[in-house]
Amino acid sequence: MPVAQGARAQQHSLEAWQDPKARPIVSIEGVTKAFGDHYAVDNVSLEVFQGEFFSLLGASGCGKTTLLRMLAGLETPDSGHIYIDGADMTHVPPYRRPVNMMFQSYALFPHMSVEQNIAFGLKQEGASKAQIKERVSEMLRLVRLEPYAKRRPHQLSGGQRQRVALARSLAKHPRLLLLDEPLGALDKKLREHTQFELVNIQEQLGTTFIMVTHDQEEAMTMSTRIAVMDEGRILQIGSPSTIYEYPATRYVADFIGSVNLFDGRVTGGADGQVFVHCDEVGATMAIAHGEPLTAGTPVSVALRPEKMTVTDVKPESDVNVLRGVVSEIAYLGDVSIYYVALPNKTLVHVQLTNLARHTSSPLTWQQEVWLAWEPENGVVLQT
């Protein structure tokens, strides 16, 4: 466990997933699904609680969509169990689950109007005409599509279709809404806008959302918790800040945001710190770590670009200091990015916020600089 986990636990003591008495709305137990000899989902267990916005994040082919489809009942697990609201749903067909899904392609019925699409699920329940009418107009209001009720899907823009798909999947008051790349087909600007809209709707309704995405920014912005997946396994589950600040593995650290990774071996430790010697760089780093590690353990040190400083004056301390020369500078307005080449040619990515207005950067190309960081700002990852 990372050292500051305790502090975070305190900060989030009200969150359901840290309450031992809370009963999960979804619980996946040891679920495995193979296609041929390829394990799409490999012994995955996780719990999702009422009102969460939970993201399954990973590169394409990591098994996140298969896991979501098993929750919807569109795929059957080879082994393991899926409980929704305490009931075993592992082999229940999709049309009998208290779950609705928003498909990546939206899967709107092309021969039905917007209204009819939204009413489709309610009709299956055998709701009365008046009930259906009321619920449909409620949903149209929610996604602001009232003027488009009579249109067919092909007469709508991509963003409007996305909202119809959302309204249709929410119409039946599902206990759980599954979203497969809900913003994947939208252009960048619309996507950013829709992110907030989707979170607002989720908070307004209190429905539990489980979303699949490959976009880490999207997952960070929208989720209460994220499960990072790779090769059918869950690598880490945590809040966006936990995942970012305390990645559990090299893959997670690398997948979320940018990171500098240094491979080394543990040489010792003291006062909640671990000393790691990196042969490549030829330096020993002191990094905060909750539990002492045995000397000789191979580890990686992860340093985020914005958690380091770069100066042209040699810092007084010898610990956590690296010498290098500026190789590339990118001025992005709000921040500047420096690539500093260490003596062994490793490039270190550092990001500085441009706080003052007219400071022409004191650093220039090929200038000798020193990188420094606090022990708390690094993460030791066991490989």
């Binding site: 049309y95 019925f109 489709f120 299956q124 329940e125 092909h154």
Partner: protein, 345 residues
């Protein structure tokens, strides 16, 4: 068949005469709307390139030569009268000695068609058999097309090949084969007697039943292929979405798959219905003397009675009868293409 007026993309010059919508003005605009006229005008005004015009000219000339002209010949003969001569009909246009041209249009053939119940019955029976055959093809062909569309990709091509394979054998031989199967001491009767299911052979040959069997067998691929085309293009996630929204598979088929496959159903039905109405070979080989179909009547008029004018009139009337479903088919096809284009956007 009249091509429907198509609005021209090129700006139209105002019609001659009064600009108020007179009958003549309408007629003029209607004429300008013809694709051919639009193209020729476009060429003259430089809005249509020659290369483009040439591409459409080839099929246009083909149709003109092998459909338009022969049809005009048939139309001409249908207005003449039968004579025992070479050719066996009277000319429409005659030159008299003193430089007078006479045009004799005989409507007798058409009157005969309208008055003699034989022709009415033949038309009615042809349409009845074509309708039954179309429904049978649909009922047999839909599950076949659905099965192929839902089969694993590796099986689809072999299954489609099995549908197309009969075309590699002569149509005539395949219809003849049904005689061997359906006749009184044929394959089917012998099998049923051998199994002890019947004591006496069932008379199946030379009935409407044998004609229907032949037609359904021969035209089934024309139903299966367009149905397969629409069904295989259907997005499976629509059925998943329906199931996700609480719809059972059977109901999902009726509310999603079936309505979305209507273009295929209509295309297949037209491809079976239209040629079946005029079908001659199958009723001739498998039908009996009392199987009255318009194709057979036409053949009899032409070859047995040597009455070319009546035969021509029968042909023209058949064509006019089929114009309605053909135009409808055309419209559905165009709408389907338009919808597909919109969906792509």
């Amino acid at each position: 068949m009249m091509p429907p007026p198509v609005p021209s993309s090129a700006p139209l010059s105002p019609p001659p005469g009064p600009s108020s919508p007179t009958l003549l003005g309408y007629l003029w605009r209607w004429l300008l709307g013809f694709p051919f006229v639009v193209r020729v005008r476009g060429l003259a005004m430089g809005t249509v390139s020659w290369g483009r015009a040439m591409v459409t000219a080839v099929p246009f000339l083909w149709l003109l030569l092998f459909f338009g002209l022969p049809f005009l010949v048939v139309l001409k003969i249908s207005f003449s009268q039968a004579v025992i001569a070479q050719p066996p009909y009277t000319p429409l246009v005659e030159w008299l000695d003193d430089g007078v041209m006479t045009l004799r249009l005989s409507f007798q053939n058409y009157l005969l068609l309208a008055q003699d119940s034989l022709y009415w019955m033949a038309y009615f029976n042809s349409i009845r058999i074509a309708l039954i055959a179309t429904v049978c093809c649909l009922l047999i062909g839909y599950p076949m097309a659905y099965g192929i569309a839902k089969a694993k990709p590796a099986f689809r091509v072999p299954l489609l090949m099995l549908i197309i394979l009969p075309f590699w054998t002569s149509f005539l031989i395949r219809v003849y084969a049904w005689i061997g199967i359906l006749k009184n001491n044929g394959l089917l009767n012998n099998l049923l007697i051998g199994l002890g299911l019947i004591d006496e052979p069932i008379n199946m040959m030379h009935t409407d039943f044998s004609v229907l069997v032949g037609i359904v067998y021969s035209y089934l691929p024309f139903m299966v292929l367009p149905l397969y085309a629409t069904l295989s293009r259907m997005d499976d996630s629509l059925l998943e979405a329906a199931a996700d929204l609480g719809c059972r598979p059977g109901k999902a088929f009726l509310t999603i798959t079936l309505p979305l496959s209507m273009p295929g159903v209509i295309a297949g039905s037209m491809l079976v219905f239209i040629p079946t109405v005029g079908e001659f070979v199958i009723p001739d080989l498998l039908g009996g003397p009392d199987t009255l179909m318009i194709g057979k009547v036409l053949w009899t008029e032409f070859f047995s009675n040597k009455d070319w004018p009546v035969a021509s009139a029968v042909a023209v009337a058949t064509l006019l009868l089929l114009v309605v479903p053909i135009v409808y088919f055309q419209k559905v096809q165009e709408e389907g293409a338009k919808r597909a284009e919109e969906a792509r956007k």
